[in-house]
């Protein structure tokens, strides 16, 4: 049992995720080229870059969603809490419990709000009604939508607005207490008001959860993130504090991108 603790947990250290010499291939196509990057705990890190530069690809490596893609080959190491998540003896379920994900398009399950949020906890063996209800309340509160939804827990999640659906998805991801939350363009399908709510939410969450967010929206990255990584054609061109990237980038490509001259 002791062994279980050791191998089965990802205790996030000051460096939440450490990526070293990462190369990724879809078949013969190399989508990521020698990425080295440390994501700090308790911060929001933004990935920016033109379409097709590999942002989503890198993000999906961190919870190993790329395992589902045929012909995807990954080199290098991803360490969380000092453990290589692609190493032997790593339980995918445990990894994904610790590294949650929110997708571009809101994708709540076509069941009730309540069942959406309890899906994860049930998966991890929680059956007790009171505990589940407490988790639902807690998750919705953390997603800042408890007041909105507390009377509609048994309503279908598909009846919610797009913005609500996305926040529900965040609540669903939070239900299993992840330490890291991956967000792939979580607001690109939403209106400005919903987008604002989710940005606020991220700022509140980062105390407890390390957030990595992919965004096409420069202002969004500038507003909410602490660090920003700029990608181009599979390479990490520049990675620094958001302030520096947006005010005084080192590389010319970065400057051209953030001032809107390509991509």
């Amino acid at each position: 049992m002791k062994e279980k603790r050791i191998t089965d947990k990802f205790e996030v250290t000051d460096v939440a995720v450490s990526m070293k010499n990462v190369n990724l291939y879809y078949g013969a196509f190399q989508a990521l080229k020698n990425i080295n990057m440390d994501v700090a705990k308790g911060e929001i890190t933004a990935f920016i870059g033109p379409s097709g530069c590999g942002k989503s690809t890198l993000l999906k490596c961190i919870n190993r969603m790329n395992d589902l893609v045929e012909g995807c080959r990954i080199e290098g190491t991803f360490e969380i809490g000092g453990r290589n998540i692609y190493g032997a003896g790593v339980d995918l379920q445990t990894l994904r419990r610790n590294v949650g994900m929110v997708f571009q398009k809101p994708n709540p399950f076509p069941v009730s709000v309540y069942d959406n949020i309890t899906y994860g906890p049930r998966l991890y063996g929680i059956r007790d009604k009171a505990t589940l209800s407490a988790i639902v309340e807690d998750s919705l509160k953390r997603a800042a939508m408890w007041d909105e939804l507390k009377d509609r827990l048994d309503k279908s999640a598909l009846a919610l607005s797009g913005g609500q659906q996305q926040r529900l998805c965040i609540a669903r991801a939070l239900s299993v207490q992840p330490q890291i939350l991956l967000m792939d363009e979580p607001t690109s399908a939403l209106d400005p008001i919903s987008t604002g709510k989710i940005e606020e939410l991220c700022a509140e969450l980062k105390e407890k959860v390390t957030i990595i967010i992919v965004t096409h929206n420069m202002q969004q990255a500038a507003r909410i993130s602490d660090k920003t990584g700029f990608f181009l054609l599979g390479e990490l061109i520049e990675y620094a504090s958001t302030e520096k990237i947006f005010s005084n980038p080192e590389k010319e490509q970065t400057e051209r991108y953030i001032t809107g001259r390509f991509g």
């Binding site: 191998t7 003896g89 669903r172």
Partner: protein
């Protein structure tokens, strides 16, 4: 930790193996059907000689001892060919006309009712078509027949024609709806009339789809049994006129099978084998015409490297080889289809060009400008003909259903509804109670087998197999093949395997087992379709929370696909209820109450055939027909109610792990 980890891995592995096995079931079934029919037909082939069997004209089972036995099926081959030709002429033409009308000319509010009419027509059991033919068409024809004989070529053509109409119409409709809108826009932009666009541009560009529709219509006509024997006259001879009786391959099998033994029996199975071969070849040709043949071959070659399953890849290649050879014949067609497809994805201008050449031929005036022919009245006439064809279909359906409803109601009044429906029966008194029980038992047995297998197979195809992989294609091909096999062939297979080899004899169990093989493709396809409609993003969300594949399938995918599974169930029930030929051979045709699943029993359709064929129980036959019609309409209503509403095009699943 290791243990838990391994346990879930083992669970996933076992589940995958189970699904894969289920998916192979269709392949195994087709192989078994071919194998067993060939095996049981060999004595006849050996006794008679293949050439003699196929091309000699005397069919004389050993009434005067084995020495005088002769088994030549040429008259039956000719009979089936004529019947099919007649049916195609009538049902094929009408079917295409109906489809063109529904897709292009029908006022919007009549569209749904017409589509529903077509699907009701498809669901009506063949015994009802046969009885309707016997009671209405044959007497009418007898009145105008020079030899006073109403049965024969024309009667069969008419009955079979109505029967294949829905097959042709619904597939043609699909093909027409798949024609890119750009064609129509392009044609209109050129100033063509709507009629010209439809008949010169749109219909011709759906040619390959329409040939497939007609091909499947042929398959249905060749394999039809019960309706044919009721109106064909059933004399083994070459018919010389429209009113001459004749025998088809299927008719010969079902009429002799109940008493034949020895070489005679083997000869009947061999007849079934010939029929099966014809269907297989037909399927091969259709497969090639669809233009898939060439594309598939290329994929087969290129993907050999990535072969996941070595063993399966060999089978796959052998099969690909077979179909490629078929495809070579149709290479030119395939090429054309490809060109059309290319154009379809291209800009409107291509369509416009097609339209120009289609309408104008090569005609240009002196300055090299194209000459626009005057909008001829010809196309208007075609449009009117389509409308007339649709009217004929509607009238036929109304007439048939009205006839059964009126006669059935009268019959119920005369026999006493409650008495006939639920009475004790026995000793000269007829009752449908045994049919209720038998039909229920048959439905229960076949669903209990084919639903789990079909669902598992569909799960394998959608959730596990790489989409577009060789395995998926092979399984899908075999599933399609299985669904094209005539029910009489399933009947023979059931007799050989379940009745004889397993010693079940005439029994509900044997009938149910046979039906379960028969409805498997229906289940697989309906469930597959609904699984594909479950958005990929649901699966992603589940995986991202840490769920494994089995958990995701069980908790998310299957619940979302419940409608599809329900549809599959209802479709299967429809198929079972209207089946008669296969059941006649396997479950027998007794009128009494079955004592268990090992005793024989008659479903409604078989019961109706018995009443109808004995000639003594007209009322009972009509009343049973009414019950069947009500069931068919109810099933259509249910499917319509639960069917996928077309409003949202849900993202398709493209990839999986």
């Amino acid at each position: 930790m290791k243990q838990g980890f391994n346990l879930s891995k083992i669970k996933e592995g076992v589940a995958k193996a189970v699904f894969a096995l289920a998916a192979c079931f269709a392949v195994l079934s087709v192989a078994a059907i071919i194998g067993y029919l060939l095996y049981a037909g060999i004595p006849a082939f050996r006794e008679t000689g293949v050439g003699n069997f196929l091309f000699s004209t005397t069919w004389a089972p050993g009434y005067d001892g084995p020495a005088s036995e002769k088994f030549g099926i040429l008259p039956m081959i000719v009979g089936s060919t004529i019947a099919t030709g007649g049916a195609l002429l009538i049902g094929g033409t009408l079917g295409v006309a109906v489809a063109v009308f529904i897709v292009y000319f029908c006022p919007a509010k009549f569209k749904m009712p017409l589509v529903q009419t077509v699907s009701v027509l498809a669901g009506i059991p063949s015994v009802i078509y046969g009885y309707f033919g016997l009671k209405q068409i044959v007497p009418a024809l007898a009145a105008i027949s020079p030899n006073g004989n109403g049965t024969g070529v024309l009667a069969v053509s008419l009955v079979l024609g109505i029967m294949i109409l829905p097959t042709v119409a619904s597939l043609t409709k699909d093909a027409l709806e798949a024609v890119p809108a750009a064609y129509y826009e392009g044609a209109l932009a050129l100033g063509l009339t709507k009629e010209q666009s439809v008949f010169k541009v749109l219909v011709p560009s759906a040619k390959s789809g329409i040939s497939t529709a007609l091909g499947l219509g042929i398959g249905r006509a060749v394999g039809e049994t019960m309706a044919v024997i009721m109106v064909a006259g059933n004399t083994v001879q070459f018919p010389k006129g429209l009113f001459d009786g004749f025998m088809t391959l299927t008719g010969n099998i079902v009429m002799d099978m109940s008493y034949a033994s020895g070489v005679h029996r083997s000869a009947l199975v061999a007849t079934g084998f010939v029929l099966l071969l014809f269907i297989l070849v037909l399927n091969g040709i259709l497969y090639a015409v669809k233009g898939k043949g060439r594309k598939e071959r290329r994929k087969f070659r290129f993907s050999i490297k990535n072969a996941g399953d070595k063993g399966a890849s060999k089978v796959g290649n052998a099969l690909a080889g077979f179909y490629n050879r078929c495809a070579d014949g149709a290479a030119e067609i395939a090429q054309k289809v490809k060109m059309t497809a290319l154009k379809a994805t291209d800009k409107i201008s291509c369509a416009t060009n097609a339209a120009v050449t289609a309408v104008l031929g090569k005609g240009t005036d002196k300055e090299g400008k194209p000459i626009y022919k005057k909008a001829g009245g010809g196309y208007i006439v075609l449009k009117v003909l389509c409308a007339v064809g649709t009217l004929i279909m509607v009238a036929s359906v109304a007439y048939l259903i009205g006839f059964i409803v009126v006669k059935g109601t009268q019959a119920f009044i005369e026999t006493g509804f409650v008495n006939f429906m639920f009475g004790k029966g026995g000793a000269g008194k007829n009752s449908l109670a045994p049919a209720f029980v038998s039909t229920g038992a048959l439905i229960g047995i076949s669903l209990a087998i084919s639903l789990p297998i079909g669902v598992c197979a569909a799960i394998y195809l959608v959730e596990y197999a790489k989409s577009g992989s060789r395995i998926v294609k092979v399984i899908r091909l075999f599933t399609d093949t299985l669904s094209g096999i005539p029910s009489i062939v399933f009947g023979l297979f059931g007799v050989i395997v379940f009745n004889d080899a397993l010693g079940l004899g005439y029994s509900l169990l044997s009938g149910g087992l046979t039906l379960s093989v028969m409805i498997l493709p229906t289940v697989v396809r309906a469930v597959e379709e609904s699984l594909l409609n479950v958005p990929l993003s649901y699966r992603e969300a589940s995986y991202a929370l840490g769920a494994g594949k089995i958990h995701t399938i069980g908790k998310i995918v299957l619940p979302c696909a419940l409608k599809g599974i329900l549809t599959a169930t209802v479709l299967s029930v429809g198929r079972i209820v209207s089946e008669s030929a296969a059941l006649l051979l396997t479950a027998g045709s007794v009128k009494n109450m079955p004592r268990g699943i090992t005793s024989p029993g008659s479903s409604f359709a078989v019961m109706m055939y018995m009443y109808a064929s004995e000639g003594l129980y007209m009322n009972e036959a009509y009343a049973t027909a009414l019950v069947l019609i009500v069931i068919v309409i109810a099933i259509n209503a249910v499917i319509f109610a639960i069917g996928p509403k077309k409003e949202k095009k849900i993202e398709r699943k493209k990839n999986n792990g």
